[in-house]
């Protein structure tokens, strides 16, 4: 016993030390990993920033102290990676680590005062008549709310820079990031997941994402579903069980509404292509591309006309891909000569970002012009769209109600909206994952369709 008692004190303090300092060694190991990735220039910038920080110590101290305090208080809940009870230094390092995932990380100090001015400038160039329309904005990660999860930070940056562009890839990235958020979530004592998670953890993430770029309608739908799911948990549900359930649900949603949907729509659309058809499409949409390739794989021979937007040039990629698959492609870089080209087509396939409750299609700018020209020429206009993109609460009759300004062209010198609104009378049919056998439903029927197909596993 004595030996044990004697022996015990020596390892015990060590163990205690170990637990106390556990965050400390963890950080140094993380830090070298960071520095390895840093280039010389970045190191220099960092050193400079640190110097500036030291010089502005007096000033900084006042600002930093409360900030550090608040991180200490909430850090445990919000920032699981950072460990508990860390000081200001640790907090900064943790932020550094999170921020380092993106290349756009600015140095910590010295940026803040200049930011508000820049922010004002960005929107001040927008002509007044379009000033109500939102615009994506690059927020330096240092400006982000401290509760934002690093994975969400990364997704937000990618959305702001349009690296994630179409609604479905944004939805998928968001869901995967939320998965990470849920994995790292720990319910604080005295709270339950179903009451605490949404207002204190999920909402800051959503706010940040919305600030980076206005949410697409699919994201809105998914978040609504997710919140409903969380609220459904009984207040006494064990945390692990609830988390497990949420993670499973997210996987299920991604699988059902994104992965399988893509396949089903491509198959349905491919069935509606006939031998010898000429299919006209606008820009590049994932589903249209999949459908055309699927039809080609089924052994059908047909021509494709790709009309492109010279300000996006996605159609060029599509044209090349199709060409490589052995499809004859006519590529038109702009909307010039649209009428004769549309008249020569047998079907027009369009991809959509969203469909509103009144059946109008929200799609990349120019889609409405193509759809209208096609309808006037008596050519079928078929829209491919996942049902997760359907918005059952909103109605839009013109393109200025729900839209986005191109962040790169936002002044009177050069202005552009990203989307337009195609009236449902210019849409012959919508192909969704629910319809089988190549049939499709008119755009007005989406509400009925959604009600009929409500999925007990998801809702």
């Amino acid at each position: 016993m004595a030996a044990e008692a004697n022996g015990a004190p020596s390892p015990a303090p060590a163990a205690q030390d170990g637990t106390k300092t556990a965050p400390a060694p963890a950080n140094p190991t993380a830090a070298p990993a960071n520095t390895e990735k840093l280039t010389a220039a970045q190191l220099k910038a960092k050193a400079k920033a640190e110097k500036a920080a030291r010089r502005a110590q007096v000033k900084e101290a006042r600002v930093a102290a409360p900030a550090a305090l608040s991180t200490q208080e909430k850090g445990g809940a919000a920032d699981a990676k950072g460990g508990k009870g860390k000081g200001k230094q640790d907090g900064q390092q943790a932020q550094n680590k999170g921020g380092h995932l993106q290349a756009h990380r600015p140095s910590i100090s010295g940026r803040r005062p200049s930011m508000p001015a820049v922010e004002k400038d960005v929107r001040s160039g927008i002509p007044e008549c379009f000033s109500h329309i939102p615009m994506a904005k690059r927020i330096p990660t240092s400006q982000a709310h401290k509760d934002v999860h690093p994975a969400v930070l990364a997704v937000g940056q990618q959305m702001a820079t349009f690296a994630l562009k179409d609604s479905i890839s944004r939805l998928k990235a968001t869901l995967l990031a939320f998965r990470k958020v849920i994995e790292s979530y720990e319910t604080p004592k005295g709270n339950s997941l179903s009451r605490h998670f949404v207002p204190h953890v999920l909402n800051p993430q959503i706010e940040y994402l919305t600030e980076c770029r206005p949410m697409c309608f699919a994201m809105g739908n998914a978040i609504r579903l997710l919140k409903g799911k969380v609220n459904k948990f009984d207040i006494d549900t064990a945390e692990d069980e609830a988390k497990e359930g949420l993670l499973e649900w997210i996987d299920f949603l991604i699988n059902e509404r994104i992965t399988l949907t893509e396949y089903a729509i491509a198959r349905n659309a491919a069935q509606s292509i006939n031998e010898g058809d000429t299919i006209l499409t606008y820009g590049r949409h994932r589903l249209v591309e999949k459908a055309l390739l699927e039809a080609k794989n089924n052994g059908k021979s047909f021509d494709v006309t790709v009309i492109d937007d010279p300000f996006e040039c996605g159609g060029q990629e599509l044209a090349k891909t199709l060409r490589q698959a052995g499809i004859r492609v006519l590529y038109s870089p702009n909307l010039g000569g649209l009428r004769p080209k549309v008249a020569a087509a047998s079907n027009v396939f369009l991809g959509g970002e969203a469909i509103f409750a009144n059946g109008s299609l929200h799609a990349p700018s120019g889609t409405a012009d193509v759809a209208m020209a096609a309808m006037n020429a008596g050519v079928k206009v078929i829209v491919l769209c996942e049902t997760i993109n359907f918005d059952r609460d909103r109605v839009s009759v013109d393109s200025l109600t729900y839209n986005e300004i191109d962040p790169e062209r936002n002044t009177a010198d050069c202005f552009r909206l990203l989307f337009d609104n195609t009236h449902d009378k210019y849409i012959t049919g919508v192909i969704t994952e629910f319809e089988s056998g190549g049939g499709n439903s008119p755009a007005q029927a989406i509400l009925a369709l959604l009600r009929k197909q409500e999925d007990p596993l998801i809702d």
């Binding site: 010279p310 010039g336 009428r339 609104n421």
Partner: protein
Amino acid sequence: MAPSQASHVPTLDSLIKAFNNQLLEASIESLIFLLKRRQVKGDECAKATAHILRQVVAKSKWHDVDQLLSRVQSAGSRVARAAPQEPVIGNVVRRVLGLIRDEASEDRNADDYGSEAASDIQSLAPSAPLPQRPPPVPVRPSPSVIAGGGLQVSKSMFNLLSVADTDSPMTGASTPLSQAQPASVHALRSEVMDGIEEILDEINQADDQIAGFSEIQIHPGDYVLAYQPSRTVERFLVKAASKRRFTVIIAGLESPTHGATEAPYAALRKKLNGAGVKTINLASNGLMAYIPRVNKVIFSAKAVYQNGGLLVDSGCCIAAQAAHEYLKPVIVLSPVYKFCPEDPSDEVSRGELGNPSGYVSYANGPAVDALDIENTVTDYIPPELIDVYLTNLGPQTRHHLASILADHYKTEDIGFNLHLGES
């Protein structure tokens, strides 16, 4: 190569100056080359054609009206064939031919009192070469006006007027028939030259005259969508800006890949902004998104066909179509000399193909190899999309285009372009 050559390229003005010192043939050839290289294009073609025809009338050898007509026809068709994408050339040639016919018939009426009927009947024969200066046919100097008017519908009112004119006292001053030939050739030449000057004046003043109607069309607070504003549209907007406060949305910027240092249409925007008119440059392909905000769409035509359809720069069709969908007025600015007395051909409705290298670079080997790339640069707009044709004679609707055409062209000359294919 373009910048270094730019200084050597003769501009239209220097070319026109050079016309006076050159042989006729050299002048025609140099214009044809400029047209083929598209260094003279659009509105300039009309001016250039009028100038070259003036040279033809002044310098070529001719002894009577028929020779003059055939000289003008052959020179005109050579020029028109050099630029088949510019229907305006044919219009100006037709105008000049019509002018010659008018002057000639006036002359004849002046020459001999009794041959009004004869000359009228001769001018009836559609596109047949006029017979050699006719010996005075012994036709009764009857109320031939009515006879002529009954036969030829489109000209009836004009005959009334012109005959009334020639019956006026000036007939007394005319030269005796026996000596008519050389003197009347001389007189005809100067008359025709004067007439061509008038056509040139009309061409030069057309933009200002159209701009005169701007106040009526543009109201305070309007949002006006101007698609690729041409000089005509620019004048129109600037004139309107002196009286009204409105917003101009300029659409149809060219391919964005060429990084221009200056924002497009900077000069126009500066003028408009100076007058207190706001401008917005739209860098957008589709236009449907903006139309709900727009009150009217304005652009200029390259040509107006007799059915009311338009030949325009590509993209205007998108603007017209979108505006039509939202029932916003579409106003086309087109001087009368752009009205063609013919129907659009299939080529017109298919559109002209331009150089695609601005969109797909030749450096992009796989794309150039694999793709069929079509960059359409002209569009045909069907008449039902157009609400107002604003000409230098005032606003017109498509139902009255026929009367404008009848006023400006002779039926004999309408087939002019049909002869283009031959020889």
